[in-house]
Point group: none
Chain length 85, copies 4
């Protein structure tokens, strides 16, 4: 019943807005190379379900990543991990 805590997004462990935490988490997936440049992120509904958050939270997190230049959104196509400069 003990054992390693699952390596997992856990908003309860932190302070701050949930969308910022989610943005951090996703930024981590990118900077760690788990999501490689050019890869399409899961859709907003998938992410909302996967992380148990509202759609709006996912959208705000995505916006942060976009403003940081970490991802690029192509309308109706998806949001893609940006290629580093």
């Amino acid at each position: 019943m003990s054992g390693p805590a699952p390596r997992k997004y856990n908003p309860d462990n932190k302070t701050g807005y949930e969308y910022e935490l989610l943005a951090e988490h996703l930024a981590g997936l990118i900077s760690s190379g788990e999501w490689i440049p050019g890869r399409r992120m899961p859709g907003e509904r998938s992410l909302a379900e996967e992380y148990g958050v509202a759609l709006d939270t996912v959208r705000k997190a995505t916006r942060i990543l976009r403003e940081r230049g970490l991802v690029q959104t192509l309308k109706s196509k998806g949001t893609f991990v940006a290629h580093p400069d």
Copy 2:
């Protein structure tokens, strides 16, 4: 061969386009009083999943109901069963 016939939307039993059949089916729910005036219909995504059709098919069926004055759509709120004249 006995037993209750499934009370179910069955596009295979009819001719015509699926969105028309779905529209008929939903119109039936309204005219039978199963869906009462003012009630919000299930969301498009729910209906698509429930009836096993694509979103667009649900949308076309809804459009027919709207054109017949059976429902009224409020953007960002949902589609509601209209009150009879």
Copy 3:
């Protein structure tokens, strides 16, 4: 900065939905006489490719023109510029 401005449909210069802009653009071709009454419009696929939009967007634009009475669609034949009243 000099030179002829490209005579071209440019959705980026305007606001509103693409299918409305495309409808305006095509209505312009009709009202300017570039497309004369009776003429068949290019097929939906051609228009989609020419303007770089999806088929559905072309279809919605065509529907608008049809509802305004500017064109008439004959199934399996094409969409034709209407004769003015």
Copy 4:
């Protein structure tokens, strides 16, 4: 300028209806294992362009394959190479 003729669908070398020849050709791709079971065939427009034939020819050829049980068509999804019995 001589040399091997390209291994290629060539309707001119045969007699019979073009859609039958195309059906034979495609059946060959299946029986030779070039198209494996479960694989989706190219869309009808791709095939028409690739083989330089009319859409209707592709559709008639596909119908033959379907009647022979070599392929299965799922509406709006595509035509798939059938799994052998």
